[in-house]
């Protein structure tokens, strides 16, 4: 089987979510990549180094610069004439593009796969991860999105893929990019961080989040996260949100501070290797899944922890 993996990049580097998608695709067969955008030579070269990659298709065109699905999906659909599976990371970009590709191919997409069980059989979460479905496709081609935390990341070196330019495609003329407000953070991205420090509603304010959570994250070189309750209360921006409606993470260590552990939040972090919970309510559901639990007032315990760690 020949797979075509969507390479998510920021114009200069391949994003980590792509590497998990490559691993998933390699379980199906030969791995080809698609790098689309403008001035993406550097990305294409880096992509060709990813272990196990056979070919890198490069579509360098201004129309592909901002991942507009109206322009990208026809390009992918055309390339799918010579591939059997389109595999995209389940990022907001992958989720935006893949179903549009699937419908153009008259294929029923399988979203957010957790494992590859056979050539056409996969597991995926339903009901916010409260149930796991094993599903089998009967379509001639596959369109998949891959949950990044469920697969190991492919190595970024050791590969020697052949880079090949794709000339086709262009601007469909129905959509345009206006602008973006991407939070610039001088710390690891939530979805690829080894350690995450998350704060919840118990913090009570944006100031307390800055005062209590940020120093611990700084000291550990960790990414910052939050529960939906903390986001809704305005303590931090939405892109900090960990949970079913936010980001799905699986770091080595996840600190849940002042987070009670709603199903919604657990769905986003329960695959973390070690979960550390600090909460003054000893009956908080978070303690039912925490590896290390500390029942304490976070306003005393966290600064103490920050000082001693």
């Amino acid at each position: 089987m020949k797979t075509l993996v969507w390479v998510e990049h920021d114009g200069s580097a391949v994003k980590d979510a792509t590497l998990a998608a490559v691993t998933a695709a390699s379980k199906l067969g030969e791995v080809h990549l698609l790098v689309a955008g403008t001035g993406v030579d550097g990305v294409a070269k880096a992509a060709a180094q990813i272990a196990g990659v056979g070919k890198v298709h490069v579509a360098d065109n201004a129309a592909f610069g901002h991942n507009l699905p109206e322009n990208i999906a026809p390009l992918v659909a055309e390339l799918m004439a010579s591939h059997d599976a389109f595999v995209a990371p389940a990022t907001t970009t992958g989720k935006n593009i893949a179903p549009r590709v699937a419908a153009l191919l008259d294929v029923m997409q399988i979203s957010e796969i957790l494992s590859v069980e056979g050539p056409k059989t996969f597991t995926r979460p339903i009901y916010a991860g409260n149930a796991i479905a094993t599903v089998e496709s009967s379509d001639a081609k596959l369109v998949l999105t891959v949950r990044g935390t469920a697969f190991e990341k492919a190595a970024t070196s050791g590969g020697s893929g052949a880079v090949e330019a794709v000339g086709s495609g262009g601007d469909a003329g129905i959509s345009s990019f206006v602008g973006a407000e991407i939070a610039k953070q001088d710390r690891p991205e939530l979805t690829s961080a080894k350690i995450i420090v998350s704060g919840g509603r118990a913090l009570g304010s944006s100031e307390k989040y800055q005062e209590v959570i940020v120093p611990l994250a700084d000291k550990l070189g960790a990414a910052l996260g939050a529960s939906r309750a903390a986001v809704d209360a305005g303590y931090v921006p939405n892109d900090y949100q960990v949970g079913q409606t936010g980001k799905i993470v699986a770091p080595e260590v996840y600190f849940a501070i002042g987070i009670s552990g709603a199903i919604q939040h657990l769905a986003g972090m329960k695959d973390s290797k070690t979960i550390v919970a600090i909460n003054k309510d000893e009956d908080a559901p978070i303690f039912q899944i925490a590896d290390l639990g500390l029942v304490a007032d976070l306003f005393n315990a966290v600064p103490d922890l920050t000082a001693k760690i």
Partner: protein, 249 residues
């Protein structure tokens, strides 16, 4: 401008899903069912556009069992003008739903179709994008702001790492994210009024759509259970345990 709003009847988001013992799915017998929360946001956004004078008519559509009428009545009570139920007891996949919606769109010629970004049962996150592909229209997914300006709509999208704004030519597809708005509750008089609003019942065959599933569910199981670890007595013990794991500054 007419707005089409597809809605789905799903297990209420406050109810914890239980996997059936025989592994065939999630138990939906005798549990509370409601409108998919993202679809409520879609209905609300359509109503706000009508209140602003941008939209003239809101048509709610559902593909599902006879009981999905209740979901459509909820949409009507919130402020939709009429409803179409495409009645079927089959579990219809996003691709087939998108095909039905495409056929309804051909007949209704809406300026906007606003959908929830995903239904909280299947979590597929596909129908809007698929409908956009089938119609050839532009798509603004995961919307946190929607502004119609003349013959285009600007959509602010919740993307990994922040927000992104795109401008789409109308007609267009929008899918809603959580922060787009806070849906209203239907008032009692409006619930009464909704009972007399028009609701047409159709079948998938009326639109020539084959709803046979392309993806077979082999089994549904409980997720792996994570057990509780240990409670530590104080910060010092926590620090010691973390350091033993290699976690320190």
């Amino acid at each position: 401008m007419k707005i089409l709003v597809p809605v789905k009847r799903v297990l209420d988001y406050n109810v914890k899903p239980r996997v059936k013992a025989d592994g065939t799915g999630v138990d939906l017998a005798n549990v509370k069912m409601s409108m998919n929360p993202f679809d409520e946001i879609a209905v609300e956004e359509a109503i706000r556009l009508k209140e602003k004078g941008v939209a003239t008519e809101i048509v709610a559509v559902s593909v599902g069992p006879a009981k999905a009428q209740e979901t459509l009545r909820t949409a009507l009570a919130m402020g939709a003008d009429r409803a179409i139920l495409v009645q079927t007891d089959d579990d219809v996949e996003p691709l087939a739903i998108a095909k039905i919606l495409k056929a309804i769109g051909d007949a209704e010629t809406p300026g906007l179709v606003i959908l929830g970004k995903q239904a909280i049962d299947g979590d597929n996150n596909q129908t809007g994008q698929m409908l956009a592909a089938l119609t050839g229209w532009a798509q603004g997914t995961f919307a946190s702001a929607v502004n119609v300006e003349g013959d285009s709509v600007s959509v602010t999208r919740e993307v990994d790492g922040g927000l992104e704004t795109v401008k789409l030519k109308l007609p267009a597809i929008v899918t809603t994210d959580l922060r787009l708005n806070e849906p209203r509750y239907a008032s009692l008089p409006n619930i009464m009024k909704a009972k007399s609003k028009p609701l047409d019942t159709k079948a998938p065959a009326d639109y020539g759509v084959d709803t046979a599933p392309r993806v077979k569910t082999v089994k549904v199981s409980e997720p792996p259970v994570r057990s509780a670890g240990v409670k530590v007595a104080d910060v010092d013990e926590l620090v010691a345990k973390l350091k033993a794991m290699g976690v320190h500054s």
